[in-house]
Symmetry: C2
Subunit: 221 residues, 2 copies
């Protein structure tokens, strides 16, 4: 009996020495979407779902959904579909949603303070545990400690923080980013409208609001 959860390439690779194909980055994004849909299904007490139905909900083609999932093992049952709870659990594990990640936020301006107040993360397994700013003021209005930049290194080390949200003005973004990286941050969600230079081993996702608007603007005729 073959381990049902092992992807088929495993067998081949043990023999051939080939590397397992690593999932394309876009597939990882889609995993998050699937996860959201599965959570909704679970809330509605659905317990099996076909690739066609789940794909519809996620706004993709069913073959793409199956390919995406296949990177992580044999997760469905032919003729029946996928078990909602098992799949949800599995994707959560892959995305690291299950170990609650501490996240710090740097730059408490307009956008920064909105994100501090925005609750949407906790549910997904993230928690902003502290915020930093050059001149921390109005600390009282947040539920997390608002600290001066001086305390950054210490806090990251003591709390084993690996992720940061960067919401400082463009002009300071690179230098603050360097500081984060120097102290061990491995992943940055960047809202400053700048291209950040980082070492290979640090991941950056940028959300640039002006770029998104400009992009839309191109498509309206």
């Amino acid at each position: 009996m073959i381990d049902k959860t092992a992807p088929a390439w495993l067998d081949r690779d043990l023999v051939s020495g080939t590397k397992p194909p690593s999932p394309p980055r876009k597939a990882i994004y889609r995993l998050s979407i699937y996860l959201r849909c599965l959570q909704k299904l679970r809330d509605n007490r659905v317990d099996m779902v076909s690739s066609a139905a789940l794909a519809k909900a996620a706004g993709v083609k069913s073959t793409q959904l199956r390919k995406d999932l296949a990177y992580f093992g044999q997760l469905g049952t032919r003729g029946l579909g996928y078990n909602v709870e098992a799949l949800r659990k599995m994707i959560g594990d892959v995305l690291g949603q299950n170990r609650l990640q501490p996240v710090i936020l740097v730059g408490v301006g307009n956008l920064g303070s909105a994100l501090l107040r925005y609750g949407g993360f906790r549910k997904e397994g993230f928690e902003i545990t502290a915020a930093f700013d050059l001149l921390p003021k109005a600390a009282g209005q947040f539920t997390v400690p608002l600290l001066p930049m001086g305390g950054l290194a210490d806090y990251i080390l003591k709390n084993n923080v690996k992720m940061a949200i960067l919401t400082v003005p463009a002009i300071n973004a690179q230098s603050v980013c360097n500081e984060l990286v120097a102290h061990g941050i491995q992943a940055i969600l960047n809202f400053s409208p700048t291209v950040l230079e980082t070492p290979e081993n640090v991941v950056v996702n940028s959300v640039d609001l002006a770029v998104e608007l400009e992009n839309l603007s191109y498509f309206i005729r």
Copy 2:
């Protein structure tokens, strides 16, 4: 003499009837990045730039930059590079940055009010001209009118609004989206963590903060 600003495929197409290759969507995103870099160069009184230098600043390969630009014509001068101001102007035109677009924002919660206060758009040619909410309160704290949902249709029509930013809770996102589309909105920047269903001719860009964090989380080991 051949028009220097016409892409080479034009000639062929007049003969062959082939469609011009339409730029990939990602190229349009990169155009915005290039534009930012060009603005910075202009501010520093630089007036020519090579594809290598500009690409470096934008974080892409120089060949990619050239391919991206080639979709829009012959913009550089061999041996010399690109004229900063001319290129900036051209990209601004392509992205529609030059006609100032009115944008409305729907859903004035945490994130919505932060975006209203966030000035970063105006500089890029966009202006949030009004905000809508089911229960508009604290209207005084914003510089734009905060209106009840009832006034939506009328406002869109009277002001010829084509773009909207959607920052309502996930549960309401689809229905509000439908309403926007019904009244003529053609492009939506969606911050609600949902997959929106829209007709073909409406463009949606989604920014899902939880998805971005989850994605980072996958990459930290």
